[in-house]
């Protein structure tokens, strides 16, 4: 079973993602901050895909992505989720991003991207 890590501080949006992805048959891990997300990574979890919010408490999505790509040299696939496409640009400068999802766009778009990334 594929494992998907959701890094999102808004519980409503976390719920939205879980409802949206409930039918995909993937294991979902949830982190509320970037630091929590890294904990999962550092704990050796086999994570296949990360849905990464950008504006997060403690450690933002940009810092998390830097730690992931630069510090840990991890190639874990990441779909960046944001309400503003402008916020995604700094992450692209850090390393490869496999997908972007603008919050508010139809959820089917996100589902399609996840399916593609996880080969579901």
């Amino acid at each position: 079973m594929k494992t998907l890590l959701i890094v999102e501080d808004d519980t409503d949006i976390q719920d939205y993602y879980q409802i949206l992805l409930s039918g995909l048959g993937v294991r979902i891990l949830c982190a509320y901050t970037g630091k929590q997300g890294l904990t999962f990574v550092d704990a050796g979890e086999e994570i296949d895909l990360i849905l990464l919010d950008i504006v997060l408490p403690e450690m933002g999505g940009e810092e998390f992505f830097q730690e992931l790509r630069i510090v840990r040299q991890a190639s874990t696939r990441v779909i960046v989720c944001s309400v503003d496409e402008k916020l995604i640009e700094p992450l692209r400068r850090i390393g490869p991003v496999q997908g972007t999802f603008l919050k508010g766009d139809p959820g089917s778009t996100l589902v399609a991207m996840i399916k593609e990334q996880l080969s579901l």
């Binding site: 808004d10 409503d12 949006i13 939205y16 409802i19 949206l20 504006v55 309400v83 503003d84 402008k86 916020l87 603008l102 919050k103 508010g104 766009d105 139809p106 959820g107």
Partner: protein, 640 residues
Amino acid sequence: VKLRTKLVGGTIFLVVLLGASLIYLLRDTLTARLETELHRRGVFIAKFVADDSVKSILTEDTVSLLLLVEGSRRVEEDISYIFIQDSAGAVMVHTFGDSFPIGLLRVNTPAPDGGPSVRKLTTGMGTIYDVAVGVGDINQGTYLGSVRVGILGKSIDEGVAAVLYNGAGITIACLLLFGAVALWVDLVITRNIEALGAGTKALGLGDLDYRITVHGSGEFAELASAFNAMTDNIRRSEDKLVDLNTTLLREVRDRTAAENGLRRSRERYAVLFGSVSDAIYVHAVTEGGRPGRIVEVNDAGCSHLGYSREEMLKMTIDQIDATETDATESAEIVARLRTGDTVVFESVHCARDGRRVPVEVCARLFDLDGLPMVISICRDISERKRAADDLRHANAELARQNQELTKLDRLREGFVRDVSHELKTPVAKHAMQLEILRGIAHREGFTPAIAKVVAVMESSIRRQQQVIRNLLGLARLESGARGYRRDPIQLDQVVRGVIDDYQPELSARGIVVAVDLPPVAIASDAEMLWHVFSNLLNNAIKFQKHPAGGYIRITLVIEGDAAVVRMRDEGIGLTAAELAKVFDKFYQVTASAEGSGVGLTICRMIVEGVGGSIRFESAGRGTGVTAVVALPIGGGVKTA
């Protein structure tokens, strides 16, 4: 008058005078001699007749007398007449024939002693010499009468005439001879003299090309040759003189030009030297390599430190140098100067009033009459120093302000980002929740009322998203946080992408979109253009005449060097007044229109930002609107 004419004229005159004189003299002499001879012959004939007539007179034998006179007259053909008179004067015989000229008796008589008497008579027959001789002897009382003999002077006239003719002939011969001589003289002497004269005259007039034609040989030919040789020599001498003169003139000209150049150079130097605002000192160098006495200084050099020129020329550079350079530094400078380099260094001069003047010295070593000299151009850099200090302070202040601005920029960026996040997140959450609601409704029953509520909410959320996107986009554009790119893009695909994004709403509203979008590649910013066409299409949908249905036509054509997109709707249209305001910030056509009022403002900012233009065309209310966006094919992104 030509010499030839003088010679010929004078000689003719002399010859004629000589001939005339000779003829006159000969005529007189000959006449005298002929008259003497005629007298002698007349006297002889008269005496002969007188002697032979004595007896006949005494006998009054007139016949014998007549025979005597006739016979005597025939002896000489020039005897004109002979007649004898008796002692009483009566004519006894004569040779006149029938008429004796009585007047002849009075014109001559024998001398009182009976001797001959000769009279010259002018008659119609010419000159006649009448000779009267007495017959008998008066002293012895035997005077018997007289004999008269007339001899024609024709022989004298003929002799004189012959002399005259001969003299004239001689004179003419002399003239002819003279002519020949004159011609010879002319040929041999005069012409050559004239030729020499002409040559001399031409030479005198400076014609050195004149040459005398040499005829034959002799003294004149030698003289002409010598003249020509002399002219050649003069010509050669003149050529040499001309060459020398040309050389001399050139040298003089060159020298004059050099002197003028030197003078102008000196003048310029003096003007430059005097007018330069920098202080210039020319000073000697001591044997030890130290700066020596000042030998020249300009006005600025004097005023620079407050000394008079006379005072400065008694000073050394060391006396005005206030820097505390040690011997090593001075030696280094001198060593660099000796390499021929121009040495630039900073120093401090001490003015007469004690002021310390920072200067930049530009020094160079040169040779002046065998002595090493240094010319130092000293620029007062007090202002520069102050300006440098001011610049340092300004830079520090600028750096501080820059830091502040950077901080403010970060704050602003953070603010925009936060605002964006705070505004968009609730709307996004609404959209997500609505999506969940739609899912639940699908699973648990979707009544028309619920469907309508969901549709209205979805439409409302989309508009909210558009409004927020526009407001934030405007904020970003106005702050300059977002620059424009010039990437190769397919404009037709950008427009098609926008249509695809709006397809759900277009379908929901029943609006038909007709497109004519041939592939067109331009250099521009696809993301920003998406906003432009998104806003335009949103307006075209929003301002349809009716809630349902409608028609929008979108075309793309190349016009010149621009790609032009036209979006034509059949909506409510725009009045002229509205057309003039549509791009104004926060302007809305209708108060009830939902939107931020900045969409078209953003459109114009973006289109102009990528070097294009945008306008709306409408015939008025109810006629629909055509939005025209022209974009440069090669890209025209504005630079900051």
